[in-house]
């Protein structure tokens, strides 16, 4: 393992110190417990959007804290969910009274830790909503698994809902919008190489020189299946088809009910993409794949979508939700309406995303 790190036990801490030194105009960093928050928080009258999860996916989430996106982000250890005290303390720090929306990627660890934090914040009188992202079509069966993982759509949700909060949406409207983004989004990822968790010191999985993993998560979890290496066009075709061929997807999620202070089950359904739809297309590097290669994927994806009369209204291309130095890529397609597009286009000013 060769990385720019000092002690494997201080990786996240020292990176956060770097963030604090690099972007004092945008964010501040709390170290105990660990969270990154907007330098100007709490922002009077505005809903706070808080996300978090294991580290190793940078710039997500810490790099997306700032005007027009996240109000705070809670980084766990590398690939390890953050702990409830982080979300709880950050909520107290950034809540302006307008309430806090927790955006949580659907992983057992994240869900459980955020759940605990939501209860703690609620008990303190903070208005809380929690919305899960679960967009990874690689996970087929939601009944017999922990459900689909939250991946690329999280970035788009943070951007869009962050802009809505900035524009003055109240807590429930922010939550509704987050839910809408999530149920209109689908993602799929592939890995060409494994990543190495610093504390582990060796690659998480072995992938022969002539194979790739299809349907990978963002933690070096093995994917849906392993294949002999293919061309960029062939891999892109598999990815885009995995998204286009994904039928209606229904699952039950738990959301927090403020009035009763307890968790209620909600049934949500994603409708398949169809001809005439407009999308935001997000082609993401897993960290070790250079942006140049993403354009080869974009080319083929655009050809395929154009042929299906699905129009790419906006795109995002680059390393935004990564798995350390893993080589690989993911595609996220979000079916958009005017509301989502408006908030996508709104200004954003964070270390990791700016326009």
């Amino acid at each position: 393992m060769k990385k720019f790190i000092n002690d494997v036990n201080n990786v996240v801490k020292e990176q956060l110190e770097g963030v604090a030194r690099a972007h004092p105009d945008l964010v501040k960093v709390s170290h105990d417990p660990k969270y990154v928050y907007r330098a100007d928080a709490p922002v009077s009258g505005k809903v706070a959007i808080i996300s978090g999860g294991g580290s190793g996916h940078e710039p997500m989430h810490g790099g997306f804290v700032g005007k027009g996106m996240l109000t705070a982000a809670c980084p766990g250890e590398v690939f390890t969910s953050p702990t409830p005290d982080q979300m709880y303390e950050s909520a107290k720090k950034v809540d302006s009274g307008a309430g806090v929306l927790f955006l949580v990627k659907n992983y057992t660890g994240d869900v459980l830790n955020f759940q605990e934090a939501a209860e703690l914040a609620h008990e303190d009188g903070i208005k809380v909503q929690q919305v899960l992202t679960d967009d990874d079509v690689a996970v087929k069966d939601s009944l017999y698994t922990a459900g689909r993982r939250g991946v690329g759509i999280t970035v788009l949700a943070e951007k869009i809902v962050g802009a809505a909060a900035e524009a003055g949406y109240d807590l429930d409207k922010c939550a509704d919008l987050a839910r809408k983004v999530n149920t209109n989004g689908r993602s799929i990822g592939v890995a060409l190489t494994s990543c190495t968790v610093p504390a582990h010191g060796k690659p998480t999985f072995d992938l022969p020189e002539d194979e790739f993993e299809f349907g990978i998560g963002i933690h070096g979890e093995p994917g849906r299946e392993r294949h002999k290496m293919k061309t960029a066009d062939e891999i892109t075709e598999m990815m885009v088809n995995a998204i286009l061929d994904d039928g209606p997807y229904t699952r039950t999620v738990k959301e927090f009910d403020r009035s009763s202070g307890s968790w209620v089950e909600k049934q949500l359904t994603n409708e398949p993409l169809k001809t005439g739809d407009k999308v935001i297309a997000f082609v993401n590097s897993m960290g070790g794949t250079p942006v140049s290669e993403l354009y080869a994927i974009y080319r083929k994806m655009d050809q395929m979508l154009t042929a299906k009369n699905i129009k790419i209204e906006r795109n995002l291309i680059g390393p935004f939700i990564t798995s350390l130095e893993m080589q690989g890529a993911s595609i996220t397609l979000l079916k958009v309406d005017d509301e989502m597009l408006k908030f996508w286009d709104a200004p954003v000013h964070t270390p990791g995303l700016k326009w």
């Binding site: 766990g76 390890t80 057992t108 933690h219 979890e221």
Partner: protein
């Protein structure tokens, strides 16, 4: 032979858990590398070394407070899925031992552990056979309950509990995971031992090692 576990044994248990987790850190992590994200040993070691570090701050308190301190420490240091789950076990044990500050009878110990794993199932939603830590705790605690019925002493009980736990850990190998990160692998999760079940087995073994 005894039917009690006293506070000093409980403190010994905590030390023994910290020790065995430390020794098995790489082993647990390697298990997690196969079907998860290669951090279970790291997570657990981080948590229990903190538990040990704080030893002096809770060692003179009632048993319930000891469990509470451990719960809060695990919850705020372990992270991942196992952090809130193990945290929950100790939090529920804390609630169950409110009225028994210095020592627990076998029955009280059983009830505390049972409340703990029930708490895990409540928030995690896993059932036996889903290839999680639940697969170890539930059958092992059933053995505990049966042996209580048989009037066995605590040492004997824990021997049988551990032998069941050992069996159940191995029994996770052929299973297809339905909860937690390993569930994403579907069929490919079969053939690997569950890391959380393994750490649970270690925790029960440590408990067996301190009872008399």
């Amino acid at each position: 032979m005894s039917n009690n576990i006293n506070k000093s044994q409980i403190l010994q248990w905590i030390k023994a858990v910290s020790e065995t987790i430390k020794e098995n850190k790489d082993y647990l992590t390697d298990l997690d590398a196969a079907i998860g994200d290669a951090d279970h040993g790291i997570n657990m070691e981080r948590g229990f070394s903190k538990v040990l570090e704080k030893f002096d701050s809770y060692k003179d308190k009632p048993i319930s407070d000891i469990f509470k301190a451990i719960a809060m420490t695990l919850m705020s240091t372990v992270g991942g899925a196992s952090g809130p789950l193990y945290g929950r076990i100790f939090r529920k044990m804390s609630v169950a031992t409110k009225d028994t500050p210095d020592s627990l009878t076998s029955e009280e110990l059983y009830q505390a552990l049972k409340d703990g794993i029930d708490g895990v199932m409540e928030i995690g939603g896993a059932k036996v056979g889903d290839k999680t830590m639940v697969d170890v705790w539930v059958p092992a605690l059933e053995v505990f309950r049966n042996e209580l019925g048989n009037g066995s002493d605590l040492k004997t009980i824990m021997e049988k509990v551990v032998s069941e736990a050992d069996k159940q850990v191995e029994a996770t190998i052929p299973l297809v995971a339905r909860k937690g990160r390993a569930s994403y692998l579907g069929e490919r999760s079969a053939g690997h031992q569950d890391p959380g079940a393994t750490s649970s087995d270690l925790i029960l073994k440590a408990l067996a090692s301190v009872v008399e």
